[in-house]
């Protein structure tokens, strides 16, 4: 079974600074996809960024980028120029190439301070 591990229960960053959230996963599949979702206090999960495992180039979405290390099974999220609105729970998620369900990690709570 696939597992997703987020080893940082909480992280803190100052406004305008950069922070990196860690995620590792375990799989024997060669075809899969990785996601970062944000969950604010409203509980509604929002997709931040996603990566196809067969692509070597790291995905980027505005201030959000990933560092995808396939051999190490690592998928970290970098948030640049952090904003107060970035404060939320962040979940890393895995999806196989053939199934539709997402497997989530336990999340990292990000605090953004002034």
């Amino acid at each position: 079974a696939q597992t997703v591990t987020q080893s940082q229960p909480e992280m803190s960053v100052q406004e305008a600074e950069t922070v990196t959230l860690s995620c590792t996963y375990d799989t024997s599949e060669s075809d899969y996809y990785l996601f970062w979702y944000k969950q604010p206090p409203s509980r509604q999960m929002i997709l931040v960024i996603r990566q196809e495992a067969y692509k070597q180039q790291n995905a980027t979405e505005n201030r959000f980028s990933v560092n995808f290390q396939k051999a190490a099974k690592s998928f970290s999220l970098k948030i640049s120029d952090s904003q107060l609105g970035d404060a939320a729970m962040y979940f890393c998620a895995y999806q196989t190439g053939t199934a539709s369900k997402l497997t989530f990690g336990t999340g990292t709570r990000l605090q953004v301070t002034l």
Binding site: V4, Y32, Y33, Y37, S42, R43, Q44, M45, I46, L47, R50, E52, F91, A93, Q95, T96, G97, T98, A99, S100, K101, L102, T103, F104, G105, T106, G107
Partner: protein, 115 residues
């Protein structure tokens, strides 16, 4: 347009009771998912519908849990003989066609509390 909606937003029930949780997906989305999020955990997959049929129900924990989607739009998650361990936030998500890599659009969830 409207996002995924879930009702009720909160539900309190007593142990042993029956509950129904409703999900209205984004119009036109054929794929619908249910997840359960216990306190301090990430969402855990329960079931996936493609149209009216359950394409993957491998996450349902036991036979007390059942879900339907009779017309391929609204879905209802049904829990019989509720237990205190069923207390969690139940999240629903939809996407246009299912399959991998497609973004799943989540609703705000229903917080179920079993006393």
């Amino acid at each position: 347009g409207a996002g995924v909606s879930q009702t009720p937003s909160n539900k309190v029930t007593e142990k042993g009771k029956y509950v129904e949780l409703r999900c209205d997906p984004i119009s036109g989305h054929t794929a619908l998912y249910w997840y359960r999020q216990s306190l301090g955990q990430g969402p855990e997959f329960l079931i996936y519908f493609q149209g009216t049929g359950a394409a993957d129900d491998s996450g349902l924990p036991n036979d007390r849990f059942f879900a339907v989607r009779p017309e391929g739009s609204v879905s209802t998650l049904k829990i019989q003989r509720t237990e205190r361990g069923d207390s969690a936030v139940y999240l629903c998500a939809s996407n246009p066609s299912g399959g991998p890599y497609n973004e799943q659009f989540f609703g705000p969830g229903t917080r179920l509390t079993v006393l």
